[in-house]
Amino acid sequence: MTPAPRRPPAPLRRLASALLPRDDRELLLGDLEDAYAARCARAPRAVAAAIFIAEAAHAAIGRRRRPVTVLPPPHKGAHMFDSLARDLRYGARGLARNPGFTAVALLSLALGIGFNTAVFTVVNGILLRPLPVADPDRLVTIYTSEKDGYRYATASLPDYHDLRERTTTLGGLSGHSLMFASLERDGVASLALGELVTANYFDVIGVPLARGAGFTPADDRAGAPPAMIISDAFWKRELGSAPDAIGRTVRIRGKACTIVGIAPPTFHGLMPGMIADLWLPASMAEDVEPVGYNASTGTTGTTRFDRRGQRWMFLKGRLQPGATVEQAGAELSSIMAALAADFPGTNEGVGITVLRADQVRLHPELDGMLTPLAALLVAAVGLVLLVACANIANMLLARGAARSREMAVRAAIGAGRGRLARQLLAENLLLALGGGALGTLLAAWAVSLPLPLPLPLALDVAIDARVLLFAFAVSLTTGLVFGLVPALQASRPSLVPALKGDAPGGRASRRLSLRSLLVVTQVAVSTVLVVSAALLVRSVAAARVIDVGFEQRGLAYATFAPTMIGYEDEAGLRFFREAADRLRAAPGITDAALAERLPFSINYQFSEFFIEGRPDLSGKHGLSLDVTRVDRHYFDTMGIRLIEGRNFSERDTPDSPLVAVINETMARRYFPGESAVGKRLRARTPSGPVVDIIGVSAAHPVRSVGEPPRPFIHLSLDQRRTGGNSLVIRGSLPDDQLATTLRREILALDPRMFFLELQPYAAQIETTLFPVRAGAMLLGMVGALALGLAAIGLYGVLAFNVSRRTREIGIRMALGARPESVLGLILRDALTLVAAGIVAGLAAAWTTSGALGSVLVGVAPRDPLAYGLAVVVLLGVATIAALIPARRAARLDPLAALRHA
């Protein structure tokens, strides 16, 4: 017996069935399914399914494309769904008759709804999705509080152990911390995002592993054999879903870690919005880079395992049955008070805050800022959608005016008003749902774009059921909002004038002015956005040629950490020095230098300094100044001039007095009218280590291109035994080859090394322009969206005007008006609206231009070129939008226009 032929999925069959007219439904479906089965044999099933639906839709429209002006009366006892399906079919036909209108309406709806859905997807991923744990209302988050009143800090491991041993209100207490681990696979190292957790983590939060036994209590002990739990995604991506993955090993910082579990596919860790790939026991903290609050007070140990003052873990506890959050808070606070008495050096004044875990999203403090921000964002994009709705309503009103005769004929032969309104509403709903579907696809595409970040951060935002529901609800609401008024309006034709061909006039003028106002506002808003986008674009261009204080071409740098692949601290710095020596000998390289922090890197470092003998300048807490450590080759390599004094030299060793080169800005500010060389600084406290100022260097921007000059201190890296972070080289090779040479020479020293950053210096400077460029892109996109909507709005109003004035135009033409003058008539209307909008927009942009001033580099906030550019773009788009209805008016056949009557 042959297998039953393949049939399309049931939902598709039902959809096709609803689309098709009742009379032929059964047979057409049979044929369509035949065709589907045949196509499945030679094409992917998705293609066959798509063609199935397309053919069903085509058949539904095609079968009905007969001159039907009057809907058949409803069958007696007809099911409501049948009548809705009939309305939808009729609506689809109506829309197919006007492909231009349908396309424009669908596009603007897709943009509006897509924009909303994308924003909601992000908000949902970060703020709304429930915690991926069992009984989230019985899970608590525990923060430590500081003396200074800060209430939401992380906890240290020793405190965690004491809390866990003494608590009776919690059935389990676990700790976790975000981490970056260096992973080695097939000799290639890469950075993975994960969580460092206590062994009981998965048990406490109630997430059963998909495979494997997981961690055991022994994993919490230092020196336990390295174990790891991996995410479902990691298992599929890196291990090809190998069934024997449990027991295999993955190397992390040179250590072979045995996989003891695979998390369920739905679990991405407890950091909202981020996707963790692996979980390691907290006992491996020294092998990875944990990210926590990391406050260190009165350190009492040597590692983060025994330092009670080093707080780096988030705590999650499971309430005992019957225990409340308040009881847990009181109990843990009293335990903490006892610890403060035992360990005053680290724990004095440290308290406890306990919150229900499902009431915290990112962090209690961030939540307070994020929630209103998210609400504002949703409201703002909602406004965009509302404008899109208003525009479509306008177009529908214009269309309704054109269809008033059709409606009047129907009403005259007995269609009730409700019937007509329902019919029109169905048509609008169809539009809205179509726009919603397109918009959702658009949103799915938008949120899948990779983040332009230099870190392996994957944002956990995806289209889920909640997002789909949101998009559906928004589409339905949208359909009602833009469709109701036009539907009611059009379904209430005043029979006699409409049948005679008089367009609805009368009260139109007041509505018209409201509509015009809407268009003017849209044009004004677009103007502001387009001007801002133009300013940012100009700024990006200008920043490329700005002077950064040293020649950025011919420079490349690498940032890496030998300690992450197992080097001891001192060997790490030795590795840096060896690499620099090796590079200085490489062909095409003129110099190489080491630095803890390079200009424009996001690695900001500050330190407190006191200027000796000047307590008036330093204040009680000292001056918090930007600082770096560089070796003696640094100034030559970077091409930063020394203005005064001497450079670091071989005489500066760990055993000689500490020395510093300060920049000109600092010298001028703190030693005006005298030489800074020979003056002394004190580090950290007024009686801290003495630092001699031996030189003054030329000032250059430190954090971002175009910033005002700031004091900057260079300490000597040659006076340290550990450290190192970046290696920078200068050479005569092209920038790309410099970076290649840098990589080659370092890998020749140790092929296991991996780079946190490795690029031409110019690329780094580009990165600091990221906010400006991202802003330019975002504003450009929003500006284009606003402009598109404004154009559609303008088109709607003009189209409505033209349809309302058909007879007037006909009479004008009959009396001898030429097409050009009619064209001019309509264009004049359009330009009046557009000019009003542009003027208002320019004024608004001019007065608010200061707000952009802080991000603009090398461009004045009132740059005439940007303003001019914006005006040209706006006028161009507006003219195109206006030309369509204007040409329609100019091409009117005067006889037909008059016969309308």
């Binding site: 059964e26 047979l27 057409l28 049979g30 369509l32 399914e33 058949a59 095609g62 079968r63």
Partner: protein, 107 residues
């Protein structure tokens, strides 16, 4: 006297002649697509076959598939359809006789 046949109608009748009695809509469509090289909507085939049936050129019968699935219509040429096709074919051959060299010389 035969009914006038549109081009698409001719294509369907030719396909039906080729396939023999018992062909379904989907098979006819495939034959037309294969022979003419153009994409054809199933709905158009369905509608046109309905028209041809109304003109009395094809006959249809409903069959209940034994292995599940839906009822479907299968078609066969009516003698009138065969006659119309033969007539059209004769017309075509008469009208095209000796024209090939002329057509080729145009290219």
């Amino acid at each position: 006297m035969s009914a006038y046949l549109g081009e698409f109608e001719q294509l369907l009748l030719l396909a039906l002649l080729r396939l023999g009695p018992g062909a379904g809509t989907a098979a006819i469509r495939d034959a037309v697509e294969a022979g003419s090289g153009r994409k054809v909507w199933l709905g158009a085939v369905f509608t046109t076959l309905e028209r041809l049936e109304a003109k009395g050129l094809v006959r249809s019968s409903l069959i209940e598939p034994s292995g599940g699935g839906r009822r479907r219509k299968i078609y066969a040429l009516d003698p009138a359809g065969e006659a119309a096709l033969a007539h059209a074919y004769d017309t075509w051959t008469r009208m095209t006789r000796g024209l090939k060299p002329k057509l080729d010389s145009l290219g």
